[in-house]
Each structure stands twice: as C-alpha cells, then as structure tokens.
C-alpha cells in the first residue's frame, strides 16, 4: 500500500488568504493512499523542510505531494530535501495552488474547491510515480566562443585566464569586431583602438586561446558538456602557418576594392589585412575581387611572396571539435538606413553619412587620418546636423526599440566636431536624450555647454540645395517647422542583430525574438544563459548595448562557463523519454518532431514470425533528451513514454479530475 504524505503550504498569506488550506488538508486526508496530510506556513523554509522530514520518518511515508507554488520555484529544493530522507527524490509531485489558483482567483470558496482538485490530481499521479535515478555525463573542459568582437574577446580571455582552453571563432579575417572601428569611447574619450587592440593581441597570443578567423559555425550537435561543433574554415588563399605578415603582397597587389572596414570611405587591395592592427596580422585574399582567382591572370602576390605562402588552390575546410560550453557573441550591424529612409536621400547624397562612417572619418587610422572631411569633396564641414533615432524608436519605418548607445555616441560626435573644427556648429535632432550611465549625463551637459544645439524633433526630409544639405524638421518644443542648412549630416542609426546571427544561434539551438536579438533564459535572473543548457550569450547579440555593458555581460557569461567547466561530471535529469522497442515500428515520426535531435533510428536484432530479423527502431540519447515529451505525443503506437510524466500518470490525473 502506498503511504502518501500531503503538505499544503500557506505561503505566508499568498495561498492561505484565498484558499482555505485547512479544508484542503482535511480533504487530502480522505484521498486514496494518503496517510498523512498537514499544512505548513512556509514549506520551503528550513523549519518547513524539517517538519516534512520528521513526518516522513514518523509516518513511514513513501511518496510526497506538496501543494505550494509552481514547481519551477521549489521542485529542486524539495527534491534536494528528499535526498536526505528515505524517499526517492522523484516520488514527489507538486500541486501548484499559488500561480494556478490563489494568485488568479478571488472567490475563496471556488478557489478552495479548485485547490482540492489540484491536490487530488497530484495525489492520483504520485500513486503511479516510480523511483528515478540520475546519471552523470562527463564535461568536456573546452569552451567555444562565437564572434570575435569585444564581447567574444573578453569572454574568451576570462575563460582562458582561468585555465581552460578556448576556441574563438570569427567570420572576418581578424578579431576586433566593431569596437576597433570606433575612434573614441564615451564618456571618457579614451581611444577605442588603444584599449581594444591590446586585448586583441592578448587573445591572439594567449596559450589557452585558439583563434579561428575566417571561420563560421556550420553545425552543432550534442548537449551541455559535450557539444560537437563543425566549424567551416573559409579559404584564405594564404598559408598563415608560414606567413610573417610582411605586407609585400598587399603593397604590390594591383586590384583596388571598396574598403568595408572603413565603411566604404576608402579602398583596399584584393589581398589585404582587415586593418593595420589586425589579429592575426596576416593577409587573406578576397576571392570575389582577386583577378587571379576570377580570371587566372595576375598572381603577382604569389610571385613576390618570399616564403611562398600564397595558395590559389585553397579550399574550404570543415573541422569538428568537442566543446563543453558555447558562448554566442555574434554582435550587431547597423540598419540599412538608405532603404528605410528614402526621405534622407536614400544614399544619394555623399555627405549624408552614418555614425559609423563618421567614426572612421574622425579616426586617426581612418581614410582621412582623423581630419573631418566631407566624403563628397573633402571640404571641412562647418555646419553639421546630427539626426538621432534613425531606425530606432520608429516602428512604422524600422525598429520599435531604443538602440541605447546612440544618445551617447551622438553627444560624442557633437563634441568631436566642435573640438576639431574651429567655429563649427552642430545641431542635434532628437526625440529624447537618454543618458543613464556613469558620467553619461555629465558628458551630455558638457557637449551642450560646448555649443551643440539640441532640437527636439525628427528630421522629416533632407535634400540638397545650392551645395547645402537642407534638413527640415519640427522643433516640437516651440511647435515650429525648422530648416537647417548643413554641410554634412550624420545619421545615428540603430543597431540590429548582425546578419546571419539568428541562423548561427539556431544552429546552436538558441532562439531569437521578433527583432532577431537572441533570447536569454530569463530577462532578469538568467540574463546570459539560454534555453539550451551549456549555451550562453553576451554583448549586442542579446540586444543593443554600449561597450561597458557588453564587457560586463561577457565576463558574466565567462563566469557561467567557468561554473560549468569546473565540474568533472554533470548530473542528468532522469525525466527523459524511453522507447519500448518491441512495440516500435520504426516510422521515425518521433525523430522528426524531436527539437533537440535526441532520437535516432537504430537497427536492432528482433524476432518476426519465428525468424531472426534486423529491424529499425527509435533510440533516445539520454544526454540530449530534454524531457519535452513531443515524441511521446507523436507516437501512434504509444511506445515512447516520458519518465515522470508517463501516459499512465497523466491519465490518472485526468481521471482524478472527473471523480466526485
């Protein structure tokens, strides 16, 4: 005979103020199999747990029902408690009478009746519970970081410093990401490259970090502690093992190509380093533009290279490695404002530029060596209009979200123009100015004191007239239309997820929100974890943010990775699917619906009409199975069951609900 114990929790007044817990306990005492039923003020507290332990010993209970908050809250707490008793931790059912009852009802009578029903269902289910036992899987102590921007570099360095091996994968030929493109960083105005290139160099030289540039993730299988990741190495056409980075090839290459690192403001060669401080400091060939690769003519670099590093036959390569943890730091791109805002010229005016183009213009290593010159004619602009929220906070045209960093980098741009160009004027069109952050508001105040004119309103149209760019808009504070004649316009465009980042994340089993930002496991309490255990995220892959927040999040993700890699083994949940192989027809329906690819079809010896045959049946990988139950619902024969939620247990619950 089963000896079930039922504990009804008051949860202070959270439950007890709506549900008559004493009545529920009284009713529970009458239910089949129940030996002991009592209430408790705070069941999750130490004293509450002691009371349960005592009851288990005193009444020789062999299974337990706790009617309290959601199992997401304290199921683990109570399971841990049960490990110190004679009851198997999985002989426990939680009836959620808080979130699913007291919190959502006001009618005390009916809420109490519902609580009794919920307890009745749990009591019926617990009778069919079976002891379950966890097993353990080894942890592969190696971390993969996807994306070599400042977030990825920081995360990789933190993990590597703790003594674990890290592979840092970057699709561009160099790590560095967007931060190395920037000139100065707000609010302290320290040079962006000066603070990020040492980190790049450190990552490049760290004995525990393996850099894989010009690489992308093509497949991820496996599970926490044991991910098998296939990395695609794009052809570089330059042997980086022998190349010393002398630069002769780049110097002599006759083909000039638009330089995207400089935001199309300059030219580079077809064999190139992404930027002078690139890590690795070795060139690659741009196969789209190299005349040798396109038409078989030229090959100058190959003739000149003293070490014979050029290999025009280079092919893409696939490398599969095992990692225990994955960090996604896939970063951002800026929205294509020319498409969304034809009223700003849609790209036809050379002197209407994006914020990132301005960063290159004002950067000492940029195309103008730091002199602010109009891309159109090289003249120094005297009047500059800065337009904020281009693409952000504008659901009708682009994105509804606030891009967070723009208010501050707009203020920085205004400051830089006023500082570098004597007698210049800067007008900033804004919707709101948002400067939460250490020293941010002070910086904004200083910019205004420097002479930047802030006009509250959106720019409705930009057009060229007499060599000037006319920016029309409304000053909403005075309720009047204004027009500013500018020499140059800087559009502070919104961030959007880096192209291809949602696909990369999907490969690792991580979902994205409607805008494409990767989804964290919990927005407040698990900000760097994802719904896929063992996969973490950081930086702008998760949402727009500035450098301090990005770096903080990267270190947070690294801390989570270290927590995982510090373990030798992981306990696996025993609440997984099991296949009753003799019943299985091998139709593979379960394999198709499994979201974590935990099911595979295997050939097994079998008997058919008295003969030995080999047939195909489903098999569950216990390490991969997340216990979602999709396979169980899909199986027509009913030969897959989910332990802890077997068809029988669920039927018992349903039956209990209909019993008087």
């Amino acid at each position: 005979m089963a000896r079930t114990g039922v504990i009804i929790c008051h949860c202070g007044s959270n439950i007890a103020s709506v549900v008559d817990v004493e009545r529920v306990a009284l009713a529970a005492g009458q239910m089949p199999g129940v030996t002991y039923a009592a209430t408790n003020k705070y069941t999750c507290s130490i004293s509450g747990q002691d009371m349960i332990k005592q009851a288990i010993a005193e009444h020789e209970l062999d299974r337990l029902v706790i009617a309290s908050c959601t199992p997401r809250m304290h199921e683990t707490t109570f399971r841990k408690m049960l490990t110190k008793t004679s009851i198997n931790p999985y002989m426990l059912e939680i009836a959620n009478i808080r979130e699913q009852c007291s919190w959502v009802h006001t009618d005390k009578e009916k809420a109490t009746e519902k609580a009794i029903d919920l307890v009745h269902m749990a009591v019926a289910k617990v009778l069919k519970d079976q002891p379950l036992f966890t097993s353990s899987i080894p942890v592969h102590k190696k971390c993969l970081v996807v994306g070599g921007g400042i977030a990825g570099i920081q995360a990789a360095l933190d993990v590597a410093e703790a003594g674990y091996e890290v592979t840092l994968v970057e699709r561009e030929p160099s790590i560095g990401g967007k931060m190395v493109m920037l000139d100065k960083t707000f609010p302290t105005l320290d040079c962006s490259a000066c603070i990020s290139t040492p980190k790049m160099a450190e990552a490049g030289a760290h004995p525990n970090i393996r850099l894989m540039t010009s690489c992308e993730i093509s497949a991820v299988t496996g599970y926490i502690g044991n991910f098998q990741v296939t990395i695609r190495q794009k052809p570089r056409y330059v042997n980086h093992d022998t190349c010393t980075g002398c630069g002769l090839c780049e110097e002599k290459c006759p083909t000039k190509v638009t330089n995207l690192f400089d935001q199309s403001l300059s030219k580079r060669k077809a064999i190139y380093k992404l930027f002078p401080q690139a890590v690795p400091a070795k060139p690659v060939i741009d196969s789209e533009h190299c005349t040798m690769l396109k038409s078989g003519k030229c090959g100058l670099c190959s003739k000149l290279c003293p070490l014979g590093c050029i290999n025009f036959e280079d092919q893409e390569d696939f490398i599969t490695e095992t990692f225990g943890a994955i960090v996604l730091a896939t970063g951002y791109d800026l929205i294509d404002w020319a498409k969304a805002y034809p009223e700003y010229g849609g790209g036809k005016y050379a002197n209407v530029i994006s914020g990132l183009q301005f960063e290159r213009l004002v950067n000492a290593s940029g195309p103008t060596e730091g002199h602010i010159q109009r891309p159109g004619d090289g003249a120094e602009p005297k009047t500059v209009v800065i337009v904020k929220c281009v693409g952000s906070r504008d659901p009708a045209k682009a994105k509804a979200y606030c891009s967070r960093a723009c208010c501050m980098y707009a203020a920085k741009h205004a400051h830089q123009i006023l500082e570098k160009i004597e007698g210049s004027k800067v007008y900033v069109f804004y919707i709101d100015v948002r400067t939460p952050g250490k020293g941010y508001e002070e910086f904004y105040d200083k910019t205004r004191a420097d002479g930047a004119v802030y006009i509250r309103g959106r720019v409705s149209k930009i057009y060229e007239e007499g060599g000037k760019l006319i920016c029309k808009g409304e000053d909403t504070l005075i309720g009047k239309q204004v027009a500013v004649e500018a020499d140059m316009v800087v559009l502070e465009t919104a961030m959007e997820p880096a192209h291809g980042s949602t696909e990369t994340a999907a490969t690792a089993g991580v979902s994205a929100d409607k805008d494409g930002w990767l989804t964290e496991a919990h927005p407040k309490l698990r900000p760097v974890e994802t719904q896929t255990a063992g996969v973490y995220l950081c930086g702008t892959a998760q949402g727009p943010k500035d450098i301090p927040d990005t770096v903080a999040q990267a270190s947070a993700a690294a801390a989570k990775v270290l927590g995982l890699l510090a373990k030798d083994e992981l306990e696996t949940s025993p609440m997984i699917s099991v296949v009753d192989a003799p019943k299985c027809s091998g139709c593979g329906f379960c394999e198709q619906v499994c979201p974590v690819k935990a099911i595979s079809m295997v050939d097994v010896p079998s008997m058919y009409n008295g003969k030995r045959v080999t047939r195909t049946v489903a098999q569950v990988n216990s390490g991969l199975c997340s216990g979602c139950g999709a396979c169980s619902a899909a199986c027509r024969t009913g030969c897959i069951d989910l332990l802890g939620f077997t068809n029988k247990q669920i039927l018992e619950e349903v039956d209990a609900l209909w019993q008087e």
Partner: protein, 283 residues
Amino acid sequence: MSDVQNTLRDRVRSLLAEGKISCFIGWGPTRFKDRTIPKFANKPEDAGELVYNEHCLSNLAKYALDFQFSAEVAGIAVRGCESRAINRLIADGRLTRSKLYLVGIPCEGMLENGSTAEKCAFCRHRNPVVYDELIGEPVAEQENPPRFEQVLELESASSEDRYDFWQREFAKCIRCYACRNACPACNCMECYTEQYRTGWQGKQANTLENSVFGFTRAYHIGDRCIECGECERVCPMGIPLMKLNRKLVKDVESLFGSEESGLSDDASHALGCYDKEDLEEFM
C-alpha cells in the same frame, strides 16, 4: 483489359523464371465472376492464375508487408492507389524500395456491384506514381473528381448534427478492425488498439469506445491518408469512414499546404515537421 491480363501473366512468368523476384502479389479468381482475391504467385507456373479485370477491388500494397524482412525482391502490381500506398509504407519505414519490383498498371476504375466503385469515383491518380515497368499506356486522369463534396456537405451541418451523425455511425461499429487492417497508413507493428489497459481506449464495442477508436484512427492517419478508400470499402457495417478521413485531409492541405500523401516516399509529413511559414493562429 484481357490484353493487360495476358501481358501481366507473361511478365510475371518471366520475372519469376529469371529470379528477379521471389514472389508476385496480384489478383486471382474466385468462384464468383465479379469477385477477385489477392493472389501470391511463387512459381512461374502460378502466373497463369493471375487475373486482371474490372473487379480487382483490393488494394494489394499492404500484403507487401509479408515480405518486409525477406532478403529477396517481391513483385507487386501497382495502380495509382497501390503505388501511393507503397510510397506511404516506404515513408513510414515499413518497406524498402530496393526490395520491391513494381509492375505498374494504369487503371480506369473498378466496378462494384455493377457500377463504378465508390472509391474509384474520387480517384485523382489512376496512373501509378511510381513503378519499375508499366503495362499498357497511361490513361487520362479524371477531371476534378468531387473529392471534398461530402466533406463540404458535412461541414455545413451544425456541430450538434455532426456529433449526432457520427454517434449514429459509430454505434454500428463492431470493432472488427477491417478498416485498420486494410489501411496502408495504419501500418504500426502493434496498433494501440491491441494493447491492454492503455487507460483511454476500451475494447468494448459500444458507441463511446467505438467513437474514440474511429476518431483516433482518423487522427493517426490525418496527414498520411492516401485516400484509397479501402477502409470504407471493407467496412462490413457501411460506416462512411472516408467522409471523416477526407475532412482531415482537407484540413491538413488547407492549413499546411501539403501535397497529397503518397505521391513520393518522402518521409516528411505535415504534422511531423516544423516550418517557419506554418500558420500559428492558435499561438
């Protein structure tokens, strides 16, 4: 049609004689002129007993399961309905294409009690969709057979009327499982109805349990029914099962835009795969 029969016999005779196949599944005679039964030809001399005429009503595909574990190749006559059933069985992992030799026969519809069989009236694939050799010339397909006519009629009734209708129909069911046994999509090694104490499907032949059986079967084949109409044809109680199956076929087609089942042996079916374009009205 006697030409087809003669060619079929000749071909099967040589296929068996050459050792290309170990057995051939076709139709054979009965003591009634207007009835045939499935016939297994194991030796070249058996080929002369094969029959092909307008009374070959049975869908043979499921008999191929008898050879699922055989090392040798089994031959089978396939019309549109058999060929789609074979594809279904391959997609469901029950048959292997390389172990089958399909002799295709274009079909112009069969007779049942003197007139066109009900199941053939709705046929959209009279020519086999897959075969290794074809006997005779392809025939013209029926133009717009009234595939969903009965479904539309059913859909126009109120939910109460529909409920009453199916309760009346399933009250007749004697749970002989002939529908399931004939159905090429009902191909589980062990049907859930054979299992004891599932907790939700009783074995009693009463209206309640019968309807649980009827509706469950319809859902199990919802996205895989090849519309061969065998279930309805073999039902001794005359339950209009295809009305129910076609309703689900229609829903699956309109909700997921999937093509008819059995046109290929592709294993992906509407309810088993996720597509970003899938309707999500319910979410």
